[in-house]
Symmetry: C2
């Protein structure tokens, strides 16, 4: 399993992901699920992926090959709206998921979901969630975050805290505690964590941070959240007979 | 959907549930999911139910009929271990789920899960989770809570806070904030909430509380939790550049 979350604020985007890939409990590996897609100077695209690893690798590889191929029908360098990039990635993904001719379709589980985060030129920065079927939704004022993978454990804190007016750093902290909740409740979500900041109109993912399990800052964050949550709980009102 | 949670501490049991039942968004009703099963003076059984409403109603009804019938093969009055009660309820549930002869089995979704909370005589109080297949697991020192229904949103706070040494009131507050998380993130989990305290060796569920959405205490609890959580979040460590 996997957990990726992206948050959109007025000043930019936060992308965050775990790095655990498992094909059964005896086949657990570390793979980055945060892909910065190389593109021209007036655009920035980050792809977060959940689901079949072969599919996500084939999709990022196909995107790069279309970019390098002057005869390709389309490429992320030539599209002029982020929505078109989402549509293109959805089409690439469904094509990849069809698999090789003659594959054993009954046992074949090639599904993958993506979050596309980015900006093109003067268009607003935005987030798109691309479903395995290739269709997609965008973030909105009312729903300023998107998630893929094992999403439920980490959703309550996002529902409570995230709002478009918050600073990027606040949004980043919210993504981190959301990841923390998922990691504690689901063994298949695991470190290292990746966290990227996209400042509006910068066209760079900067800073891009990576926290191993024993990273001092990440440890400090986890400890503080654990302590603060416990205090928040201890301070709840008592029942009338207490 | 439904969310029920039960917590076992050294001094007793906490049972909590929402009351929303839906068979599609245009067919939403209020049904209690907390069933106190009438039984002899040396025993107390509470059943929390999730899943098909017809199944859960048929199961509680069958339990009562077996109790009233002196010729019944077994009844909750005559069993001497809580585990046997779990096994009996599992058997009743699977029998009910088979449905009437000639039912359209393909479209038939009669699954239900149960949490059995209670105590018999001098045996320890305990919790059992009874699966739709009729098998069951019990709570343990390491896993002192059980959940059925829409369990994921409310699990992180339980994972963090619940421990066997906590007071019943603390455990009850933990169940309430866990329910609050589920209700906020899933529309199909809804008030009124029910909350029951079982004090070890009391053989009564007392007090048994019910909170409507506008209940003053429940409102105060929700507001405090919201405020405290936000403060817990605001007090997290800053990134080095902040």
């Amino acid at each position: 399993m996997t957990y990726c979350v992206a948050i959109r604020t007025e000043t930019g985007l936060i992308v965050a992901s775990d790095s655990r890939t498992s094909a059964g409990v005896d086949d657990v590996s570390v793979y980055s699920k945060m892909h910065v897609l190389p593109a021209g100077p007036d655009r920035c695209f980050v792809l977060l992926s959940a689901g079949n690893l072969a599919t996500t690798q084939a999709v990022t590889s196909r995107i790069q090959r279309d970019r390098d191929d002057p005869d390709a029908e389309t490429s992320i360098d030539r599209l002029s709206h982020l929505e078109d990039v989402a549509e293109y990635i959805g089409a690439v993904s469904t094509r990849v998921q069809r698999g090789p001719e003659g594959a054993n379709q009954a046992d074949f589980r090639p599904k993958a979901s993506f979050i596309l985060a980015g900006q093109i030129g003067e268009e607003d920065h935005n987030l798109f969630l691309i479903y395995p079927e290739g269709n997609y939704i965008r973030a909105s004022e009312e729903k300023p975050f998107l998630q893929v993978g094992e999403t439920k454990y980490g959703k309550p804190i996002l529902d409570r805290i995230v709002e478009p007016e918050m600073s990027l750093e606040m949004a980043a902290r919210c993504a981190l505690v959301s990841l923390d909740a998922s990691m504690r409740s689901n063994l298949s979500v695991g470190p290292p964590l990746e966290l990227g900041f996209y400042h509006r109109n910068s066209f760079h993912l900067e800073p891009r941070l990576r926290y191993e399990d024993d990273d001092a800052f990440w440890r400090r964050m986890q400890d503080a959240w654990s302590r603060n949550l416990r205090q928040a709980f201890m301070d709840l009102p008592r029942f009338e007979w207490e």
